[in-house]
Every structure is written in structure tokens, then in C-alpha cells.
Symmetry: C2
Subunit: 338 residues, 2 copies
């Protein structure tokens, strides 16, 4: 007699980034070497600042996506390593500039580079890394990949500028918010996934599959991040909880609570987010309103929606370990908050 | 009987940028149209900020150099227009980031963008323009041109970072200073001139001729700029005179006066440049020391040296109106200060 595995359990997602990490481990070693060598400069401050950020232990999800999508699309050369490093440099440059723009003190639990070396170094080392990213793209030799990544770099900047304007007002709509995160987060995820099949000279449906997988994964990822800033569905208090609130950064949980709230509640949100008066008791009040309107859990639900779209984008692709690993990443991203 | 023209007068340079302006006028109209169309974005703030800077009447010397060098090297296509716009975008992005790094209030006689829209917008719109520059390079379709321009973008950033460190200390050497201006100014001049012959698929000697013409012209240009900040050889007080001094920016005139000066004078320079005590009477004292050591006129002499090297770099190239115009630009740049 065999063991009866309930349908539900058999289909349960692994919700882990581990398979992707393992499948890309060998290539990621080469990516990390390349990253180290390309932060080199005779100008001492450049490797120092770059190393500070690169060593601070980001997940390196984006370059892993590039590697995996290239392999899955049938690429067998070496340039996916170059483009993966290039994608990580674009990401790192964005973080350096973001910290200046947001006036952040911390990044990944360490002092932000701008607090150690100043805003000036953060702007300029960001520019240096962006330049290196483009040089590596040139090394990789694919005009199409260059087109996709350079377009992403403008879309990222547009998203950030949009956020600057949107950040000021509670009248930001959900669609405005989605446009912002599409730019500032999803565009690079999308490009990171699309350049793999481009290297593999895959056909358009395959390119589109990876592009939309990346785009929707990026949207889900950012939505979950914004939900986690209020503790996620379970509203558990982890590290960084409340950061967005105290910085007056208007994200979807707040927008939902605002739009669903009473006139009095709207007044609360306006003074809490638009003014600079985010005390701790205001945060407790905010958490109360967020819960009353299911604003956090519905943000996670929105993330699940994009997670599903990411999964379905890859659905027509042939089954493989790599494909399964990419699907697991979706579940992992969404599961963080639920 | 003919008129006897003295040798000296016959060889006198035109010292004008006019021939270059006239020869590139038709193409520059297309460059300007392209620039306008590529600053477009649904995100309102982007065209606003970009327009502020682009309308503020820079000379657009760099894109003219790209157009002229392409034509002179025998190029007959359209992509020199694209690359010229790309070069101007790289330059504009650098200006936006520089103003943030230098904490400048003014740029070209107008309020700096960061004073109107904030540092944040200046960083991000700079990133957007840099991204657009790379997209245009991709449009132009030349991997070699992309390589040259993306390398320039890292060298520019390196030069600026070097300046950050050098700016602090009077122990900066002349060679340090030259390395800084090679990065922050000459690298883009050089790339702007080299991409022309690349488009024309010119041979290596021709590419090198234009590259070194641009590099040396850029060095001369920056040296003259730094001399003009103290009024040039005649020490005439024009606009912006004294800006570098009051900002404590250490340039060659100051370095020469410092190195040639007495121990007492060195003490003066250290307290004037390293501390923040640049009063008007200190400036008069500084001008006195600069004159006593020929520091300004010798800075101009250094510029003349690089101007000569720029001229000689082009010497083997066949004579033409465009070549003459490029030589006139050298004389124009150097003549501004003498």
C-alpha cells in the first residue's frame, strides 16, 4: 500500500530560494569574481565604497535570475556571467543613488555608504559602477541585451523621479504606485530575466515569457517588501518595521487604508504622512487602521496576483530543474509576507 | 607689387569657434531636435529639469566635435547625429551630478537645477539622461563607439572621485591635478572626437589622431578654465572670477603658487584653501601671490602646450575646411585666457 499524499500537499510550493542558489552556484562564483575585479580602480575610494555595499550581503537575486534564465533558454556560452555582473552593478549603483535621494542612514543593517564617505562619493561611485555595467554589456557583445538593459536604466530613473513627486501626496492612486514600483523595481528584474534568452537567441515567445516572469516577480517582490514594512499579513514586528511610515513614504498599505477610511482617518493619514510628525503612538494608530481595513493582507494578496502572473508567464516553457527553481523563487518572495 | 604679409600675421590663428559652428550648423539642428525629443518622459519633472539645463545655453562644443570628426573622417551616414546627442547627454548628466557633489548654487548664470528641484531630482534626472545616452548609443549601432563612450563614463566618474580626495589637500601634485582633469574633462572630449572616425570605419592612425586631438584639447580647455577663474593671464576681473578660490577648489594656479612660494605663503594657502575662511581680502592676497609667481600665466602656458599637442595630433590628416575649423577651436580655447 502506497502512502496517500493529499493533493494539496503535493502541490505545496517549496517557497525557497535554495534550489536557485544551488543551480547557479558555480556560475555565481564567476560572477562574484568578475564583480570584485570590476570594482578595481586606482582611485582608492572607489573599491572601498563599492566593497562596502557589495560585501554587505545582498541576496544577489537579480544576477541569479540572469544566469538561470540564460541556462533555461539553452545558452551555453560565457557571457551570461558578464551580464549577470552587469545587472548587479546596475542594482548597486541604484542603491547608492537611492540612499542619497532618500537621505537614508542605513542600508542592509550597515551604515549607508553616504554616512561613511558622504553623498558626493555615493553619487560618483554610483556613476562609476553604472559606467562599468555598460562596459561589461559591451564586453558581452549583444546589442539586443544592451538595448534592454539601457532602456531599463532609464525606466528605473523615471520610476524614482515619479516616486519623488508621488511621495508628497496622499492623493497618489494605486495605479500611480504601481507605475512607480514597475519602474524602480520591476524594470530591472524584467531586464535581468530577458537578457538570458536574448543571449540564447531564443524566439520572441520565449523572450516574452522571461520578460514578463521577471516583471511580475519584481512587482510581487516590491509589494511584499512594502507589506513587510508593516510586519506583513501577521503584522509581526521584525527589523525595519515602520521605516516607510516614519519616512513618510507612501506605499500601497497606506494608500489602501487611506482610500477605504473615513474622512477622519484620511485626516490622520494626511497629517501623519505629509507632515513630519510620525511619532510612535501615531504608528500604533496607523497599524490599527491598516488592520481594520485589511490593508496589509490585501497588499499581500496583490503580490500573490503578480506572483501567479509570473508563474503563468513561464508556464508554456518546458519543465526542468531550473524552471522549478524559478517558480520556487516566486513562492519564496510571496511567502515572506504571508 | 603684392602686399607683404608678415610671417607672424599670416600664421596668426583665427581663434574662433565660428567656422566649426557654421560647418556643423545643419547637423546641429538635427542634434538639437533629437535632444529635445529624448528628454521627453511622461514623468513631468524629467523634461522640466532637462530643459532647464539644456536651454541654459552651453556652447555644445562636444557634439560639434563629434559631428566634425565624423565628417572629416569621411562618414556619410546619420548616426553621427545620434552619437553627438548622446555625448551632450553624458555631459549634461555629469553637470547635474557635479552640482550636487559641489553643492553649487549656480550653473551658467542660472540657478543650478538642484536649487530649483532639489538634489534628489538632479541625481535621478542625471541617471535618466545617462540611460538615454546609452540607449542612443545602442541606436547608433556601433559596438566600438559604445565601448569608447562607456569607458569614458567610468573615467569621468573616476576623475571626479579623485577630485573629491584631492580637493582636500594642498599636497596635491601637478600630476594629481592633471589626472583629475584628464578624467573629469578630457575623457569626454576625447571620446566625442574618437567616435566620429569609428563610425567612418577609419584606420587606427586616424582614430588615434582624433582621440588625442580631443584629449589634449580637453586638457587645454580645463587648464584655461581654471586660469580664467583667476582672471586669466591679464588677471581681468570677469564673471565667476574667484569662484574656485572661495569654494576652496584646488586648481593648478594655486598649486603652482603654493609650490613656488615661501613657507609663510604656504601657510597662507593652507589656511585659505583648506579652512573655510576665504574672505575678499584673502582673495586679493591670493591674487598677489599668484601674480608674483606667474602662476596664472604659467597655467595658460601649460594650456598652450596641450593646445600644440592637439594641433599636432591632427597634423597628418589631409587639409580641409573641417580640419581648419578644428584647429581654430584649439586656438579659440587657449586665446580665451591669454
Amino acid at each position: 500500500m502506497g502512502v496517500v499524499v493529499p493533493m494539496e500537499e503535493r502541490r505545496a510550493p517549496q517557497a525557497s530560494v535554495r534550489p536557485l542558489v544551488e543551480l547557479t552556484a558555480a556560475d555565481m562564483r564567476r560572477v562574484n569574481q568578475l564583480i570584485l575585479s570590476k570594482t578595481g580602480s586606482d582611485v582608492e575610494m572607489i573599491p572601498e565604497v563599492a566593497k562596502h555595499l557589495i560585501d554587505s550581503g545582498g541576496k544577489r537575486l537579480r544576477p541569479m535570475l540572469t544566469l538561470a534564465s540564460a541556462v533555461m533558454a539553452g545558452y551555453s556560452g560565457d557571457e551570461h556571467v558578464t551580464l549577470a555582473a552587469s545587472v548587479e552593478f546596475m542594482h548597486t549603483a541604484t542603491l547608492l543613488h537611492d540612499d542619497v535621494v532618500d537621505e537614508s542612514d542605513m542600508r542592509r543593517g550597515k551604515q549607508a555608504a553616504r554616512m561613511v564617505w558622504g553623498n558626493q562619493a555615493s553619487v560618483l561611485v554610483g556613476d562609476f559602477l553604472l559606467g562599468q555595467a555598460f562596459r561589461m554589456m559591451v564586453d558581452a557583445g549583444s546589442m539586443e541585451a544592451l538595448d534592454v538593459l539601457s532602456t531599463a536604466s532609464t525606466v528605473i530613473a523615471e520610476g524614482e523621479v515619479m516616486q519623488l513627486s508621488a511621495a508628497q501626496s496622499m492623493e497618489t492612486t494605486e495605479d500611480d504606485y504601481m507605475a512607480v514600483i514597475r519602474g524602480k523595481t520591476a524594470a530591472l528584474f524584467s531586464a535581468a530575466c530577458e537578457v538570458g534568452p536574448i543571449l540564447a537567441q531564443a524566439d520572441k515567445p520565449t523572450r516574452d515569457a522571461f520578460r514578463y516572469y521577471g516583471l511580475n516577480l519584481g512587482l510581487a517582490f516590491q509589494l511584499v517588501d512594502d507589506a513587510l514594512d508593516y510586519g506583513g499579513s501577521k503584522a509581526e514586528l521584525g527589523k525595519n518595521v515602520g521605516d516607510d511610515f516614519h519616512e513618510g513614504k507612501i506605499t500601497l498599505p497606506v494608500l489602501l487604508a487611506y482610500r477605504r477610511g473615513s474622512e477622519e482617518e484620511r485626516g490622520f493619514w494626511r497629517s501623519a504622512m505629509e507632515a513630519d510628525a510620525s511619532q510612535n503612538d501615531a504608528f500604533d494608530q496607523a497599524m490599527h487602521y491598516l488592520a481594520a481595513h485589511d490593508a496589509i493582507s490585501d497588499t499581500v494578496a496583490r503580490a500573490q496576483h503578480y506572483g501567479e502572473r509570473a508563474r503563468d508567464a513561464l508556464a508554456p516553457q518546458p519543465e526542468s530543474d531550473v524552471k522549478q527553481a524559478l517558480l520556487d523563487v516566486v513562492d519564496f518572495c510571496v511567502a515572506r509576507a504571508s
